[in-house]
């Protein structure tokens, strides 16, 4: 498979600017470079002041970095967006139904669609969740679905982030920063607002209460603490939602209910928006060494006395081995053809497929089944011979740990570099909120951009940046 030039969302085939970007082009033509550079500097200062930074794991205490922010917005039309939304809603509903099924009667296994081994031998399958009924039957309160574009009308889901989707604070702050830096752009363009995301999320969580909740339900956000890489996002969201930000040591099980320690003693908590891995949630039921969680929390949950968002055990749905079954999963639960495509995926655990992967490794991306953050992957076309031969050994030793996908050419959008405008690859993470009442998708999402030329790695942990994402009004 040869690498064709990527689809550029501004220039398409290079001849004329695409319609949605017409105003962007006019704006860029009218600005001079020094003033754009100055604005870019201002934008960075603003991010530092707001504190929208991330902590780097393994680096010295308190080191905070900015995620590079590019000032040129990424534009999506209302039609494109509406289509995406239909696909997202279908997919998230199916994933939620899938989670309920695998933790209950496992119809999908009985129907012969998903092999039992995919669950049985999967560390992301949380056996403690078997038979547990989450309030409102909701597992996926928030989903961050990574979407890539390869052509004018071709969108693929690259992965589903279900366990603890992050990055929404960047979506919100990128917009705030653009509003401050370039207010005139929002006068000239009709961009759909996203600012109500936190309020909508709070409403969505309050629509998913446990039956024991009373009149004024208490919602709080559980963070692992200030050294967590996403701490600022936790603090930011708690602030915007007007809820308490708690750590494990603020919480306690009192008389069979989850309670937080207030200035006047313990008070019941109804909904826990958790930003902590399942494993650390409760030392009595999961990892006994965890000091970040709440002893006995899961027992309260099992009795239906607290909502945890997202539900424990949802990680199985963003497992990359399960991902390869997603088209079948969507069809099984929705009874419809999937509106959003999966990227074709080879499962190395299957002998024939492993052979194909080994034979074509130069053209494929190999990913760890349980990995995330872009770590432990191999990008065939750009890898060295040594990397490839090392990776082949790993594939042969533990094939079940890997999947492979073609190196799809992610679409590009221009960024502003020191040398002028240059195309860079992007993806898109829209955030989907789900309650028993409805699915809500704020028009936009996090556009991640690979800052260096030709790179396909958009992960912030590896130098990727972000852009403001505009969904235009019709």
């Amino acid at each position: 498979m040869s690498m064709s030039p990527a689809f550029d969302e501004m220039w398409a085939d290079g001849s004329a600017v695409r319609r949605p970007y017409k105003n962007i082009k006019a704006w860029l033509d009218s600005e001079d470079r020094p003033s754009l550079k100055a604005k870019r500097r201002d934008a960075n200062d603003l991010f530092r002041l707001t504190g929208i930074t991330f902590n780097v794991y393994g680096s010295s205490e308190g080191e905070e970095r900015l995620i590079p922010f590019d000032i040129i917005p990424r534009v999506i039309t209302a039609n494109e967006w509406n289509k995406l939304c239909q696909g997202l809603e279908q997919r998230v509903r199916a994933i939620n139904a899938f989670l309920y099924d695998i933790y209950h009667s496992q119809e999908i296994v009985k129907a012969g669609i998903l092999p039992l081994e995919m669950l049985k031998n999967n560390p992301a399958f949380l056996f403690q969740m078997i038979g547990v009924n989450p309030p409102g039957q909701i597992y996926t309160h928030i989903s961050g679905v990574d979407i890539i574009r390869t052509e004018e009308n071709e969108f693929y889901v690259l992965e589903d982030n279900i366990r603890t989707p992050s990055g929404v604070s960047y979506m919100l702050e990128n917009r705030e920063t653009m509003l401050q830096m370039f207010p005139e752009l929002f006068t000239k363009n009709r961009v759909q607002p996203i600012q109500n995301y936190p309020q909508e999320l709070l409403n969505s969580l309050k629509n998913t209460l446990p039956e024991t909740a009373e009149n004024k339900p208490t919602v709080c956000l559980l963070t692992p603490g200030i050294y967590n890489s996403a701490y600022f996002e936790h603090a930011f969201l708690a602030d915007q939602m007007g809820i308490e930000l708690v750590q494990g040591n603020d919480l306690k099980v009192v008389d069979g209910f989850l309670a937080m320690r207030t200035t006047q003693g313990h008070q019941k908590v109804d909904v826990l928006y958790k930003r902590l891995d399942d494993d650390f949630l409760d030392p009595l039921n999961f990892n006994e060494k965890s000091s970040l969680g709440v002893p006995g929390l899961f027992d309260v949950y099992r009795k239906g006395r607290v909502t945890i968002a997202n539900a424990p055990g949802t990680g199985i749905a963003d497992d990359k081995a399960i991902y390869s079954f997603m088209p079948e999963i969507v069809q099984f639960y929705s009874g419809e053809f999937p509106l959003l495509q999966n990227v074709p995926t080879w499962r190395c655990a299957i002998k024939d497929q492993l052979q194909y992967v080994l034979d074509n490794i130069n053209e494929l991306v190999i990913k760890q089944v349980h990995g995330s953050g872009g770590y432990g992957m191999l990008i065939g076309p750009t890898a060295t011979k040594k990397d490839i031969s090392n990776f082949k050994k790993k594939l042969i030793a533990t094939p079940e740990n890997y999947i492979a996908q073609p190196t799809l050419s992610l679409s590009t959008v221009p960024i502003f570099t020191n040398k002028g405008f240059a195309p860079r690859h992007v993806d898109l993470r829209p955030f989907v909120q789900m309650s028993p009442k409805k699915i809500n998708i704020v028009p936009g999402g996090l556009t991640r951009v690979a800052m260096s030329k030709g790179s396909l790695v958009v992960n912030s942990s590896q130098g990727g940046g972000t852009k403001d994402t505009w969904v235009l009004e019709n």
Binding site: R48, L49, T50, G51, G62, K216, T218, I226, Y231, F232, A235, F236, A238, D239, G242, I243, E244, L245, V246, Q247, N249, D250, M260, R261, T262, T263, Q264, G265, Q267
Partner: protein, 319 residues
């Protein structure tokens, strides 16, 4: 209380300490400024006077463990930015910001950005050892930062429990600081003290007054004839002076009362401040001297410590 739930004990803790550390950083900058001013304007001054400045801020013992002699450059560096000095300006502002980060959601955006912005500015300024020529700019920046945080707090925070805990932190730290400043050189304030030279033209007194930004105010209110015991009166019993013990205690009581009306209870901390006021702050300065100024100040410092601990217990800071 409206429809909101009660705040977390841990949040109260974070707010309280954010403002204690902010106050500490500001007081430290004032002390350095005082030391520098005296060094520059007094022919007779020696590096030894920095020891006095450090004693005033209770950081001299640790300094002596690190350095064998008292000399200006080391003393200024110790108070400004030395990481081993937990009360240095850099340590204090870092702790303040750390606490603010923990309770970011309980602060307004304006206050958070004021604290975070101050931290970023001061951290940058104190990255390397300070050259003497840069000292005025640095001290000015710190004072301005403190003013911006104070202004944002005053102008944007709701007058609710959060605000009460912020103010309690500020005023307990301030009361403690004022008492310490007085106690280090209490003997020069005794009515029997023999003043060298004219009434307030005395290095010791000037240092005390400048350390609490009260040099001008004192002269204005008490005149040039005022004696050392007037300084004690001014800093202990003058309700117009926003750093006096009596003023700080009034504000502390105000906010403890405000918490009581929110929670509809009367915890021991409230009784403690009322007792403290009744026993020690309802008499005139002569009574204080009769009690013994040093004993009085020591008593106050220990009572402020008890009060701070009691607040932590009453409002479930830790458990």
């Amino acid at each position: 209380m409206g429809s909101r739930e009660l705040m977390l004990g841990n949040t109260a803790n974070g707010l309280f300490w954010t403002y204690r550390f902010l106050e500490r950083a500001e007081n430290m900058s004032r002390l350095i400024e005082t030391g520098q001013r005296i060094a520059l304007t007094r022919l007779s001054s020696s590096d030894e006077q920095w020891l006095y400045v450090m004693q005033t801020s209770a950081v001299s013992e640790e300094y002596k463990k690190q350095y064998s002699i008292v000399e200006k450059e080391a003393a200024v560096d110790w108070m400004l930015r030395h990481p081993e000095n937990k009360s240095s300006i850099l340590s204090s502002i870092t702790s303040a910001r750390q606490n603010a980060k923990m309770v970011r959601h309980a602060l307004t955006t304006d206050v958070w950005e004021a604290i975070n912005g101050s931290f970023l500015d001061i951290q940058k300024l104190l990255k390397n050892k300070t050259r003497e020529g840069d000292l005025p700019l640095i001290l000015r920046t710190i004072k301005q930062s403190a003013a911006v945080v104070r202004g944002a707090t005053y102008g944007t925070m709701l007058r609710n429990e959060e605000y009460d805990f912020c103010r309690l932190g500020t005023f307990i730290e301030r009361a403690d600081n004022t008492a310490r400043i007085l106690d280090v050189k209490y003997y020069v304030l005794l009515p029997s003290a023999k003043a060298v030279g004219t009434s307030i033209d005395n290095v010791q007194w000037e240092t005390i007054l400048r350390s609490v930004s009260a040099y001008g105010g004192f002269r204005l209110e008490y005149g040039h004839e005022a004696g050392p015991s007037d300084i004690a009166k001014f800093l202990i019993l003058d309700k117009r002076m926003p750093r006096s013990l009596i003023y700080c205690c009034d504000i502390i009581k105000l906010h403890l009362l405000s918490l009581c009306s929110v929670y509809r209870n009367k915890p021991p901390s409230l009784l403690q401040i009322i007792q403290l006021q009744n026993r020690f702050l309802t008499h005139d300065i002569d009574a204080v001297f009769k009690f013994g100024l040093h004993d009085f100040l020591q008593k106050m410092i220990s009572l402020f410590g008890n009060l701070s601990n009691q607040i932590e217990i009453d409002y479930r800071f830790y458990e």
